[in-house]
Symmetry: D2
Subunit: 333 residues, 4 copies
């Protein structure tokens, strides 16, 4: 049994605790913490586990063997660095940090251990659809990949959501999955401003269009919406030399009624990749038991942040900016 402590008892935190408790063999959630003590206490009572007064105390606790970080985005990097100090395995929800500089610190700290300790929550890699797309691309049956057309649409945006977060919190999933699908790295990036949707908050750029060019010359466009008014809708098409492949829409009952043939679209992001989350956690626990992480690494979290920074810097400039990373350490090859 792997004893896990969870920092952050919000929606995604509670969902992961339920998942680890109900569905993941070999996992035992033994501790939790939250910025709001009551949130942690409530979860602790529900599961009969211990609530710690702070993430740092939880990390230091001897009973905690591995740490799951699902706290607010701005606290991720700090907890990861703290966890690394204690040499513990860490699963950190995306983003790994708010900017590339903090990711570099994490990489530096992890390198000292000479082994991977950190996994980042890019769960889409565990989705059967994306995995099959990668398999087809790598099989070469459709020739080389040339382009990706993607979109990431959320129903509505929370208060305080800033334009930059459309990139660093939302499109970051595409920033990871596109390079993973292509087996390629980014060369340049640009974000385009679009006529503002009246469903989005005043002063916020929504939608945005993300444009990326890869080292191999592939082009990627991602429509990013934080208030599309209709659903949580993730689309991805990879165009290869001989054909295209599309991420499927979710498995959903078809209805014919009211002069309409219809398929439901999910509205809660937690449901869209629920099976991927289940596999992600099961695989993470198994890989920790084996002492060898296999999921998305600090490096993956770092590259997504570098691309995100380039995109946010490009806003309003009308040109592509370079996406430049430090040299990739041997550990992540």
């Amino acid at each position: 049994m792997l004893n896990i402590g969870v920092i952050g008892c919000g929606a995604i935190g509670r969902d992961h605790i339920r998942r680890l408790h109900d569905l993941v063999p070999g996992a035992e959630v033994v501790a939790c913490a939250d910025y709001f003590q009551e949130a942690a206490d409530k979860v602790a009572a529900q599961y009969g586990i211990r609530a710690y007064a702070s993430g740092e105390e939880l990390i230091a606790a001897p009973e905690v063997q591995a740490i799951l970080i699902t706290s607010s985005d701005d606290s991720h990097a700090g907890y990861v660095l703290e966890g690394l100090k204690h040499g513990k395995y860490i699963f950190c929800e995306k983003p790994l940090a708010l900017n590339a500089a903090d990711c570099e610190k994490i990489i530096e700290a992890e390198l000292k251990h000479g082994k991977r300790l950190v996994q980042v929550g890019f769960m889409r890699r565990y989705d059967r659809g994306y995995a099959e797309m990668k398999r087809i691309i790598e099989s070469g049956e459709l020739g080389a990949p040339l382009m990706i057309h993607a979109c990431h649409r959320n129903v509505s945006q929370g208060p305080g959501f800033k334009t930059e977060m459309g990139i660093t919190n939302v499109a970051i999933h595409e920033l990871d999955i596109c390079r993973w699908l292509l087996g390629d790295e980014y060369k340049s990036a640009q974000v385009l401003k679009v006529r503002q949707s009246s469903l989005s908050n005043k002063g916020y750029d929504n939608p945005q269009i993300v444009l990326l060019e890869t080292q191999n010359g592939c082009r990627i466009d991602v429509e990013v919406q934080v208030a599309d008014g209709y659903g949580y809708d993730i689309q991805c098409q990879v165009v290869c030399e001989k054909g295209t492949i599309n991420l499927p829409d979710p498995y959903a009952v078809v209805k014919r009624a009211n002069a309409t043939r219809s398929f439901p679209i999910l509205t809660d992001w937690k449901d869209r990749f629920i099976e991927a989350y289940d596999i992600e956690m099961t695989e993470w626990v198994k890989s920790v038991e084996n002492g060898k992480l296999t999921g998305p690494s600090s490096w993956d979290g770092y590259v997504a942040c570098v691309a995100g920074d380039a995109l946010n810097n490009s806003r309003g400039k009308g040109v592509f900016l370079p996406v430049e990373t430090i040299e990739k350490p041997e550990l992540y090859r």
Copy 2:
């Protein structure tokens, strides 16, 4: 120019007149008639053509070279026989007659002319979807056909609509298209009673299930609904030894909105096969000009009636009844 007289100025009649006038080269509607004189007068005024006091007068008029019958079902056989007396080309909307006996009279009358003069309005044969299905079946690429699963659903039923009409007026399209698709003839038939839908009139059997067996042993099931509450929906799947083929849903814009991905379903039967109707009329006029009819014949109208009679006779009996026709005259081979 082919001078056409139209008997019956209801919905389908007016639709065909518009079609012949606007879209069919070589056709000229010169006359009309209707049981309700005002209906004929209105159409006559709109198109600047002559309204006759009766179908019989229209048929006899020298200016009328060909006759289009779109009057009420019970009057079809009479007008067809009258047209045959005058040796004129006749396009008769389905059904050719209310029963097999009347169809036999028509065949007898037509045979005396030694050539085909009558075409029946089984327009689905001109639909690109059904035509492609027939092409695939006949190509043999999927092996021999084994079964057809079909459904014919109307939104709502008119007043005075009787259970038998669900077969003779509604399912009659399937009675024609299935044997045409399979290149096979019916051997036996049975209709099944289903729990009554509360959307249908009291005392009326709706839905009904039509079961047919062909000479080659193929099985056909057709769900027939005259009040499905949601749309005019025609489905047809042919199951062959190595695979299946389906009639497509109509060409229709896909919408994503309100947590739903949706395709509109038509509600008016006139729209579902509108392109097939256009082709049907164009081909009919062309074949009359060539002096050699190529569309569905009196024989096809007759066989559909024979099968319909067997189905209506089987109601409540719990067994399959034979579908027995007279010998097929050479003219229709």
Copy 3:
């Protein structure tokens, strides 16, 4: 931890062992047995568990708390009765028995315990598609259910497969899921012979069409194929008064290539409902831990057998036969 012994180390047995081992929290497979000793030994070696010389010994072993029966169909009833003798929890793959009489013995034996001990492997009830269909039907939003059109198609048939097994081993899934979806019971049943597919073994009736009528007057048709030549394809449409709902095709990457837009169809039945199997096992283990079974019961296994017997008896008779069960014991309500 629930210590489970598995009888039957064939394809489905090994798949369930892998599942229990890798994915089901709280489950531990501790023993196995197989008619072919080597099969059991091989599995035992792979998982480091004990292979018993017979199912009976495994059932009697004190270390075995619950029994999973995945042996050949004709041995199911015997092992279930043996397990009941020992008062152990039993999960039995479908069919519960080869005929209704054996099911009645099981029910009798289970009733003596005053509680449910047996669950039958009708995993489709755990599929998200079927579950959503049931939810929609029961919500009443589409009015009362009227009909089910279904098909069950297997790629190819094994040697020695008999016509009757198309019902008792194949269509049995539909015999369970249809009454579950409708919340209704069968009244009569008839199987129709179809032109034989050349892909099926000589002398075997394939395809077959299953017709069922329910107490409420609903009609069900199920196309059953054991050698369709193209895939493992399960379709189900429920027609309600105001509309229809369809079981979705599986989540699958869409490809555009070679002048074709295509979706893969699975060919291995183990993959089609893989998520349902995962949930089924997880829920079963949980319900055993809670001491209260919630999944498909002996009664459900019995009713499916009764309907199957009626269907097999009806073959060639040309009429519907009644589906008659004993009175439903309180335990199963």
Copy 4:
């Protein structure tokens, strides 16, 4: 009857002649001409019409009331100007001219007549899918339009096809249809270079990505491929504030075989919008008879050329270039 002379007897020319002859009431093709005299002679013999030695002679012939230009792209502008000299109605296939300057000359010449004489062959406006999309956008039910994602893919490229022609001959359909759908005008444009597909000719940029910004701030991206290796595939999604709408894939029989559910994709561009071509010609002839053109105008042909020029000028520059037109004459409002 409208007597039509056709200049250009290549694929599209012959297709239009067939269409006018077989399907368009009120049209009579009376003359043809082609740069290759034999091509014209062959068509003339087939239809029993007169072949002229040159386009100019055909245009001048008194028997020719209206001119259909389907010759090579570089000859379009010359013939249109010649036709305008004679004050005849002209239908010119796209593009109206090779560049904006020539279009301006045409506009100038047409303005002297004080009425529209020229229609440009942007047949997609007659497609039922695009028409329905425009209806939905204008209905406002989905809020304001924000973006268009489109792609235009051809199977293979002809010899001598230059990079610029990917814009002026291929993407020109999107350059017309997008502003028509949005009821908006272009503000700036940029073309992006993509990793070259090995299926395209050496030295040719394929694929290309067209980016457009409209006066209202909408963003448009169009993937342009002249050698996609799999089919003639036209996609278009309009993203509005509350949802999206997609151009449907063509009406096509669904097949289940060989472990695949598949829909055919057309490979010949003449088939994709065949119904739109039929309607286009029928409507053109009708509008000429009425003396009032209603289809795409010289202005529409001009704007498409202006946007195309901006795109071709932007190649390799890495920035958006302005799309600037002359003031729109009253005649085209």
